[in-house]
Subunit: 334 residues, 2 copies
């Protein structure tokens, strides 16, 4: 799935910034791709970029309108359909991560046919991937893994990309979830791929590259999450990472959506190495990324120091303290 | 996915028994459900059950015509469509494991609408499963796992069901692949489920049961197969087996479809226990099932004795020597 930038970010008339999380995330990480935003009357979210009409966006070279907001229930409200139709008739592609396929709405399907533009339903995977081959391919790869879902795997991978690029490295974030696909303009929502093709899809997402190129592969779930571990294992095998970063949220008591306790960081390191060796015998842990948002700064620093001493790798909070220490270690190991 | 027996097995005009493998497998394991076969002129396969017309099948109470044969390329030949339309018009359901959706063929979709019968595309999963919860549910479960794909996991699970039922146990084979779904009349082709729902689908396939009930869950792939390990792990977590049987083919040098060597049986036992504990802390290995087809009988017996001594569990070839020793051990452990 390739989504062509630059983008017009459609925010609809959502009642708050949370409902526009996807759009705001794209603007955060890819400001250079986001020419403007389209907001309907009453919209309470603001990405802080120019408000543009569809005609203005077209004139400024926008290729794709990304629906970066979600209505209650994940459905597409009727009054958003008109904006999508207008964009398609202007020849823009339209991309969404909604549960409804765009083409299932007749006005949208007809407008796409008239405008000749593409419809991208990031939540559905229509690509027929090959099954994974597991053979080592050139290029270096870092995978973010987790003690749970929603512990900062995407953020950490993006922060690593940014830090590496700032240092002049050849580095690309590789998306495996829908927001990530919008941010990178490429990738697949791996959780929607048919089970047989998980590792094969990741081999496509993070393909062979130059020997000094770094892929920062967005992890999903956890090998210890009883709902999603299959996704995490296929992703690990497909990514064949040289290095991985363990992402963790220290105040969480049970894994997201289930009643299981979180595994220890050591458990995650051990099982990731055991399983990861199948497609990369040299896999190693390069650091720990902790979401310390719920801790006072002193407590956060103390925890990170303890974790670093215990595991012998840098530990940081990417949001609070950056990822320079992780990239330093990657440089040493890589 | 529930497929209503009894069945009429459609064998088309395939050139040999191999192309009718699915149909012959259903007749082998569920003779009581297979009222008859429908063969077109020139068919070289024979399931050894009565040849019936669709009208005769209907009269004898058949509920579903199962397409138990596959044409070169897995497509549905035009001259098979007529038989499917006739079955649908007679009010029979039709089930296939082909790559083409039945409803994508207009004559078939229209005939289904006219006859009021169901179309089952086993290779496609339209069921929206819940994500796995991983909470322990009542009932006992055995999962067949493997050192590779295609090493007898389905056969072993079916043989265990048969032996247990012969002993008067309350036991059900639980299908996770397309042929298995036809044989059990229920289940899902787990490799076609969206990745996020692997373990959830298995929780549906092998649901809560009486405390003395045994599920024999058909395994898929291998935790060590770089293409399919994600499927195997989600299946393990969803099945939450009390006991597992390791299936193995001793002459194979590399894993199916890839260049990786096979893992050892010990590797498979260790990783299955490590990962399986997440949803069943008491998981244990109950035996080894070996496909010794390529060995002379003496060599086969010698190998099985060695494996049994090494691993401290019964080792057998289910086809050659039956599974009584495995069920004896399950009785001791269960």
């Amino acid at each position: 799935m390739v989504i062509e930038p630059p983008y017009l970010i459609f925010l609809g008339d959502v009642p708050d910034a949370l409902a526009a999380k996807t759009g705001l995330g794209i603007v955060d990480w890819r400001p250079e791709w986001c020419i403007g935003q389209l907001r309907l009357e009453g919209c309470k979210a603001d990405a802080g970029i120019p408000d543009l009409s569809i005609a203005e966006a077209k004139e400024k070279g926008v290729q794709t309108m990304v629906v970066g907001a979600v209505n209650a229930g994940g459905v597409l409200p009727d009054h958003w359909v008109a904006s999508i139709v207008e964009a398609l008739e202007a020849g823009l592609n339209v991309a969404t991560g909604l549960h409804t396929r765009l083409a299932s709405i007749p006005e949208i399907a007809e407008a796409a046919a008239r405008g000749g533009a593409g419809l991208h339903d990031v939540r559905f995977s229509d690509v027929r991937f090959a099954t994974g081959k597991g053979t080592k391919r050139p290029g270096k790869r870092v995978l973010t893994v987790g003690t749970d879902c929603s512990v900062g795997k995407k953020y950490t991978a993006l922060a690593l990309e940014k830090e590496m690029r700032n240092r002049g490295w050849n580095a690309d974030f590789r998306a495996t979830g829908q927001t990530g696909v919008f941010i990178s303009g490429r990738g697949a929502a791996i959780d929607a791929v048919a089970a047989d093709f998980i590792s094969g899809a990741v081999e496509w997402i993070a393909p062979a590259a130059d020997s000094d190129h770094w892929d920062l592969v967005e992890g999903q779930g956890s090998l210890f999450h009883p709902s999603f571990a299959g996704v995490s294992l296929g992703l690990l095998h497909g990514a064949q990472p040289d290095l991985f970063i363990v992402c963790h949220e220290p105040t969480r008591k049970t894994m997201r959506g289930v009643s299981h306790p979180l595994p220890s960081i050591q458990d995650v390191i051990d099982l990731t190495v055991t399983c990861g060796r199948l497609t990369n015998p040299d896999i190693a842990c390069a650091g720990i990324a902790v979401n310390t948002q719920k801790l006072a700064e002193d407590d956060a620093r103390k925890l990170l120091d303890e974790l670093s001493a215990t595991y012998g790798v840098p530990a940081t909070d990417p949001i609070r303290f950056g990822v320079a220490s992780l990239v330093d270690r990657i440089a040493e190991l890589g």
